[in-house]
Assembly symmetry: C2
Homo-oligomer: 257 residues x 2
Amino acid sequence: MTPVSLKLRSGSDLTAGDIALLDGLLVNPRQLNAREDIVSDGDRPGDVRVILDGIACRYKVMPSGRRAITAFLLPGDFCDLHVCILGRMDHSIGTLTPCTVADFPQAMLDDVMQIRPRIARALWWATLVDEAILREWLVNVGQRPSDQKLAHLLCELRLRLEVVGLATSRSMKLPLTQEELGDTLGISSVHVNRVFQQLKHAGLVAMQGRETLFPNLPRLEKFGEFNPDYLHLKVESVSVPPLSAGARQPSPVLPSG
Amino acid sequence: MTPVSLKLRSGSDLTAGDIALLDGLLVNPRQLNAREDIVSDGDRPGDVRVILDGIACRYKVMPSGRRAITAFLLPGDFCDLHVCILGRMDHSIGTLTPCTVADFPQAMLDDVMQIRPRIARALWWATLVDEAILREWLVNVGQRPSDQKLAHLLCELRLRLEVVGLATSRSMKLPLTQEELGDTLGISSVHVNRVFQQLKHAGLVAMQGRETLFPNLPRLEKFGEFNPDYLHLKVESVSVPPLSAGARQPSPVLPSG
DNA sequence: CGAATTGTTGAGCATACTCAAGGAGCGTGG
DNA sequence: CCACGCTCCTTGAGTATGCTCAACAATTCG
């Protein structure tokens, strides 16, 4: 079973037949090095790329030369489902680690979506979850102080990796540099470093070689205000008790008119 | 013609018949006051809501009580197309100004998407553009200094309003408070005020009553690093290289008939 | 006209940035 | 096996951007 079906199963209802069909349609698997583009800004790719192994990212390059990372693509994620409609890429996708990538031929995609409504629905679901993640990142990056931003991002990555079998509630292997985390959170790599140390000193994370350890995941999730609802997983969250809205200041947001 | 078809026509190819059908399916139009919720976090709404007039927003409320605005919904925008699949709202939608809202019955939606592939495609397009806007906001909020953030947001709103006939290249009527702009950009309302004044003094924007004027739109767009490509409008703008004649049409994703 | 909301300004402070230098880890080649 | 070079991490110092608090002015709306 590929990470694709692992992932889609986590949020939708696919039968064994659906899964076999899906996995069989992934063609032309290939290895890419770290720091290679899978799809570049302005491309009009024909087929849809899927990540089978490794970590990639969506990114935009600012006029200043700074890179803004807008998504992490983990095993099982689709790179550019949307390009079939929008035509041209408005951002690039590049590998962060060495990756295995496969293609999902666009013609097959059209057929499958007609013939297997459950699969069409599962792909819709994946697209919409990507959008929900974007909303959550926007909130994270826009509104929280850096220590909470980092905590939140670590929690999300851990859970998404767990879905595809690459993390546990205790640890994950996260081969990202502090600069990449900074490009994601909109803070400098120097500041990522300092904030990371704060989290370590607070006992919220630890490092063991290249493994990131979570000595106290509930506390980390509470600190990062991480509520996994936005990932829309079927499996009710393992580790997370509902975020007690321990509202520090229950000020109204939309005053009743 | 409703703003819905105005908007969808700007990015996809709808026939007069499609448009008449779409507009006819909007039922139960109603007036809402400013600062009312259209859909609330956790809801499982049945039908899809559409904004016909006024400005609404998606927002999340942080544990601190702070409101994070993740999208503006302008006339012609769909509120919650995605809920059909994801089930539960992971954020709220509320009016910012008095609004006219109508419903698009979910059953109709399913039918129409099967029978009219062009409409299905247009709705897909709208969803994907929403996602592209989110990516751009993430970059804007995460990476740019406040003055550029504000400039960029103003440019986007102006263009989106122009699409539905509510702005020109000279001016727009934007009834948002500085606090709302701050909740969107992740900066305080006080700072919005100061930055706004900088833009005015620089001659990039001006106010005339409630109209926002653009004395030098190209300069504002340059300053805000605004490149409209991410809105994926058909009307080709500035920097977009020409589509080669006889360009291959991207194949449809949903059944064509 | 009065109440409420929104916009404006100042002062002091906190968060996060830049620049810069040094250290640790790792792969490569002599 | 060690030396080298590269990348990444770490730390310090000075600075800047943006925040909070607070007061007041202007505008809107009932």
